[in-house]
Symmetry: C2
Subunit: 344 residues, 2 copies
């Protein structure tokens, strides 16, 4: 079997440097038509197929990173992908994006992209509980940065928003308006996004009201459907709180939709605080107060973590980095309805 | 050079069928831990690297398709990607997603994925004008389905929403409320989405008002920023129309944001109709009337076009398929302000 033609052979045939071809192929260079066509002809004539093992830029950096996310239909993930794409583009890196639909089989497969050297590192986002299998594979694979939700037991760099702080800011804001009884609509119980936001909310409320503070926890998923279910439960239970902390944009959308259709006015009857703030919440009726995730910063930092980590020094690897969040105050929080009644 | 190990060698070493490994690798099969580990060990021991040329399911179908889109941060594209992912998953196909950020260099590169057999077909979305170079490369490459916007001169199957019908439905709806003067906020002039929606709008208005109908055309991009610019121009020109047709969700968001902040009430001062309807427009103040794109249908059909087309019969290839749109009537259109004044 003859040796497969390499980048050097193509460069020689086209009369250009290896770096020029490499940059043309990764899209970071636009060449005059005539030069580009000469290179394309050389590639075709030689039957050159880029070899994933050889796909490296100068200074030993890879030109392709992988990005694994659960679901692109969720605007938070879509914005995160866009932020990573933009940052990667600045660095001349291509991104191979893979959606897992939260299927463990797909996650395992995409981790295999590293083992098979099709990408040189992965930014990995999952949001379902792991029985240890995923963590094991990640530890064996290496060159993985875990973003947004934890995979417990994985010994790789991890980057999250400061979920506890986000919950705390929501709780403090609600407490300032006099809300003691709050319904927390979270995602799956095992996820750090849910447990930490819940703990932060509790701290924010207890700082002001101590044992009087009362949090009811609705478990669910980060979806519009789960938001609708939570609203129906809230109505079935005859409004068991004066405020709701909806822990994602998607949950807030489903929740508000049902509250409206049932004539429950926000914030007159119930106050609502959201989380994510990637959708057009400022145009809602009323504009929704929400904790804002630093999506661009998460995108940029996850990429720099992947590129700057010294993967040869496993003992330096495990560390958790938190990016700060802020609360964007709009008009969906008012004093509890019961307070207003007493005053009038 | 020794022959590289193939799927058959792995299957033999692991004591399973080739089909089992193929399905495990493409994520469509979950195996007992013990079996999976045996296969993984065999893959590692043999140093097996999946060969893109050999990556085929039974019946000659590829297991990896490519999807090229301009920008994942635009929710319309994010939803389109999700629709294609979901459909691909049902068929046991993996999707390699690539964002071009509208850079021709990146588009050329991803078309190269087919030439290099890394994917077995591409669903291709672009939204910038082409000087013929892209069309030429697409024609040379084959196995490309063009979706959402045209690449003139490309002789491959094309799938669009019925843009003309969408514009017509918006125009008819506005005309029914008595609007004769309408501002059309479009994307780039050369794009069929803009020219066809504009022509449809004109037909809808002229059917009722003939030569009295007056359309002012604002050129721009399908972005929130362009929507903001359009609103400022509309204000600078002292409200030159009684209604605005904003030809994307993103444009509508930027437009409404500025109109609000300047105290221009919708629909009391100006009526607005949007296009896309993928965002939570039903929660806006007021809920926004919009033409809805059939995103799921576009996703499913673009995949079936790619899989069902007989690529060996070039003469049967070129055809344009349109998917119907509908108008979702909410509360952002009312009779023109001037009419209301006369009546009261």
């Amino acid at each position: 079997m003859a040796k497969a033609p390499g980048l050097k052979d193509v460069a020689k045939a086209a009369g250009v440097s290896v770096a020029t071809i490499s940059r043309l192929l990764n899209g970071s260079l636009v060449l005059p038509d005539e030069t580009r066509k000469r290179i394309e002809t050389a590639i075709r004539d030689l039957g050159y197929v880029p070899n994933p093992h050889a796909r490296r830029l100068s200074r030993g950096r890879s030109d392709m990173i992988g990005l694994v996310i659960p679901d692109i239909a969720n605007p938070f993930f879509a914005m995160l992908v866009a932020a990573i794409e933009e940052e990667a583009d600045k660095l001349g890196l291509a991104v191979s994006l893979n959606a897992t639909l939260n299927r463990p089989g797909r996650e395992m497969k995409y981790l295999g992209l590293i083992e098979h050297h099709h990408v040189d590192g992965l930014i990995f986002v999952t949001n379902h509980p792991d029985d240890g299998e995923l963590a094991g594979l990640i530890n064996r694979t290496g060159k993985v940065v875990i973003v947004d939700e934890d995979v417990p037991g994985a010994m790789v760099p991890k980057l999250f928003c400061d979920n506890h702080q986000g919950g705390y800011l929501a709780g403090k804001h609600l407490a300032e308006f006099g809300h003691k009884k709050v319904v927390f609509v979270g995602g799956p119980d095992e996820m750090i996004s849910t447990t930490r936001r819940h703990a932060g909310l509790e701290q924010g409320l207890r700082e002001r009201f101590g044992e009087e503070a009362e949090i009811k926890r609705y478990r669910g998923e980060y979806t519009v459907t789960a938001g609708r279910h939570a609203a129906r439960r809230f109505l079935d239970e005859k409004l068991p709180a004066t405020a709701i902390f909806a822990s994602s944009d998607e949950i807030a959308i489903g929740l508000i939709e049902v509250l409206y259709s049932e004539g429950v006015s926000i914030p007159d009857r119930v106050s609502v605080v959201g989380f994510d703030d990637v959708g057009p919440l400022h145009l809602f009726t009323p504009p929704l107060t929400a904790v804002r995730q630093p999506v661009r910063a998460i995108g940029a930092r996850s990429l720099s973590l992947l590129l700057q980590t010294d993967w040869q020094q496993p003992e330096t690897l495990e560390r958790e980095e938190l990016l700060p969040v802020e609360i964007v105050v709009r008009s969906s929080v008012a004093p509890p309805a019961i307070e207003k009644k007493r005053r009038s």
